[in-house]
């Protein structure tokens, strides 16, 4: 009786760990395989192997030396950073108003902001194109910084509002008693408490801007102004059979490794930031 019970328990544990292994392997394998491919060169590339067999930096050299990929990397870093700083700057004061002050139409406003963040971007593409042409920023980084505000700003406002709601009311009351104006409360009292939230939100917005494709594809038109997702998408050879898979994988690894490292360092914060966007029971 006890023996069979133990066996059942053992099987259950084994099956559970099998599931765990499957989840981990499926999650990691494509990235592992991209790294593996990126270090292959020449005909090795077309020999399917599951483990590293050869090592060559040729793909990385060709990506970083030839063409405009380094320039695209700089574009992406610049655009994503400025977008995030701009969004945070506008969002901090707005989310103070949305989380700590009662006024009429507040929940309607919050719903509108959420709606904008879930907007189909294609719906504004034609109009944005017109505005960008009108402002004369077509095919410049500013076109992307401008258009990315449509998703980074609502997102940062929404998440920061959720974070600020959690701050104890007593701190604010004490500040009010001391005669602090709302502006002082934000800059002197809340900001020091908000640093972790700002870092998390900023990081998530950065990832969003770094990965964006539709606007980047539409509002830039030359190799030097493109961002990395567009550059990687448009890397191609003369025909379908000449696609430079090695170079594409090398570029993909270069773009992804910093993100993966950042995400792994800030795992806990990112998970809390992601889930702050609505799931509050």
């Amino acid at each position: 009786m006890t023996a069979s019970f133990d066996l059942w328990k053992l099987t259950k544990t084994a099956l559970f760990y099998l599931l765990v292994v499957v989840i981990v392997v499926v999650s990691v394998f494509p990235f592992y395989y991209a790294i593996l491919t990126s270090f292959k060169s020449g005909t090795d590339l077309f020999r399917i192997t599951y483990w590293p067999t050869s090592f060559s930096l040729q793909n990385y050299e060709s990506v970083l030396r030839v063409g405009s990929f380094p320039r695209n990397l700089l574009n992406s870093v610049f655009i994503a950073s400025v977008t995030v700083l701009l969004a945070l700057f506008l969002a901090v004061t707005a989310s103070f108003a949305l989380s700590r002050v009662r006024f009429r139409g507040r929940s309607l406003l919050l719903m509108t902001i959420l709606a904008v963040s879930m907007f189909p971007q294609i719906a504004v593409l034609a109009g944005l194109f017109e505005v960008i042409r009108f402002l004369g920023i077509y095919n410049t980084p500013w076109a992307l910084i401008f258009s990315y505000t449509i998703f980074t700003l609502p997102f940062t406002v929404w998440v920061l509002t959720t974070f600020m709601r959690e701050l104890p009311i007593e701190i604010e009351e004490a500040a009010i008693v001391d005669g602090a104006t709302p502006w002082v409360i934000i800059t002197r009292v809340f900001m020091p408490l908000m640093w972790p939230a700002l870092v998390t939100t900023g990081l998530l917005a950065f990832i969003g801007a770094w990965n964006e494709f539709l606007f980047a594809l539409t509002f830039t038109s030359s190799n030097d102004t493109r961002t990395v997702p567009v550059a990687i998408a448009l890397l191609s050879g003369g025909s379908q059979y000449e696609i430079p898979w090695g170079a594409i994988m090398a570029a993909s690894v270069i773009v992804t490794v910093p993100l993966v490292i950042l995400v792994l360092i800030f795992q806990r914060k990112i998970v809390s930031g992601l889930t702050a966007g609505g799931v509050k029971g």
Partner: protein, 326 residues
């Protein structure tokens, strides 16, 4: 910025000061909201209105301002031929458009269904106490962190017909009898897109569901255990009803995301009619085929479809986005 000095506290007029204080806060709130509202109006509100406007004109890419109003012509127009038969033209009778609508709906339905089921499984695993849980959580964050374009390229290589590792694996394990051109064949293109999307977004679903799971008090399960309730029954009678609010929010986020899908399909299966979605078709008309007004009509219709779906979902599902209110 609003930096008015506060009224000096007078004990007898406490209530008056309090309401003055409230007014001051509301005034400050208005100024605090203004920059954000202006920014959103310029990047979202105005462009949306202009897109809708363009859909009622004959605008072309190089002639945005010389466009003339043509009413609903882009959506539906008809002409009576000499023989007396009526010929309808426009978006509402365009088979390419309805094909794209069907592709989008099919994609959204299957991707979200699988992501919900698999996300629930992953979330339940992560909610259990076991050694190495941190590793699993770190591992599932990797697909989430990888840019969509990069994952499309990575999977494009793995799904390659001649040199792809998945064909090789399928042949070795005896699952395939011959190599399949996954992304190029019409029958398998949608499956390929679905696999990549499910791989990439299940982690997001899992994390949202996990947050919901972690809010369920543990003692409910202890009580159920004592009563001898079977774990499967526990899942359907306790876990599912209690995690439902979180699940409903996660599902709507994912559906809205799936309905506007563009980048994955643009890169993984370019020019395939079997996967072309509304966003891909609309952008093609706007910028590649120089049917600017027609593309605007398509994007307007996409916007209306998504808006209608959202309202219906929130209304029917009684979804509560706004958590605590202070």
């Amino acid at each position: 910025m609003a930096t008015e000095t506060m009224a000096s506290p007078v004990v007898s007029a406490g209530a008056k000061i309090k309401s003055e204080l409230m007014q001051q806060r509301v005034r400050a709130a208005r100024w605090f909201l203004l920059p954000m509202l202006i920014a959103l109006a310029i990047v979202a509100g105005w462009p949306l209105l202009r897109s809708i406007y363009f859909s009622f004109t004959d605008a072309s890419l190089n002639n945005l301002y010389g466009a003339e109003w043509i009413g609903f012509g882009n959506y539906l127009r008809w002409s009576v031929l000499e023989s007396g038969t009526v010929r309808y033209r426009g978006l509402l009778v365009d088979p390419a458009w309805w094909n794209a609508v069907w592709n989008t709906v099919r994609f959204a339905f299957w991707s979200v269904l699988w992501e919900t089921v698999l996300g629930m499984i992953v979330a339940l695993v992560l909610n259990a106490e076991f050694r190495g849980r941190g590793i699993v959580r770190a591992a599932i964050l990797i697909p989430w962190a990888i840019p969509t374009i990069v994952s499309a390229r990575m999977w494009g290589w793995m799904l390659n017909d001649q040199f792809g590792i998945l064909n090789d694996l399928g042949l070795r394990l005896g699952l395939l009898s011959q190599k399949v051109a996954w992304t190029a064949t019409a029958e398998t293109a949608m499956t390929a897109v679905l696999v990549v999307d499910i791989w990439k977004t299940t982690p997001f679903m899992a994390l949202l569901i996990l947050a919901g799971l972690q809010m369920i008090p543990k003692d409910i399960y202890e009580a159920a255990d004592i009563d001898g309730v079977h774990p499967v029954k526990q899942f359907f009678k306790i876990t599912l009803p209690l995690v439902r609010p979180a699940l409903m929010v996660a599902i709507i986020f994912r559906v809205l995301d799936a309905l506007r899908i563009f980048d994955l399909i643009y890169v993984l299966t370019p020019n395939s009619a079997a996967t072309k979605t509304m966003s891909v078709l609309a952008r093609e008309n706007l910028f590649d085929f120089d049917n600017f007004a027609y593309g605007s009509a398509q994007s307007t219709l996409l916007f209306l479809i998504i808006a209608a779906f959202t309202i219906l979902y929130i209304w029917l599902g009684k979804v509560n986005f706004d958590g605590g209110d202070r």
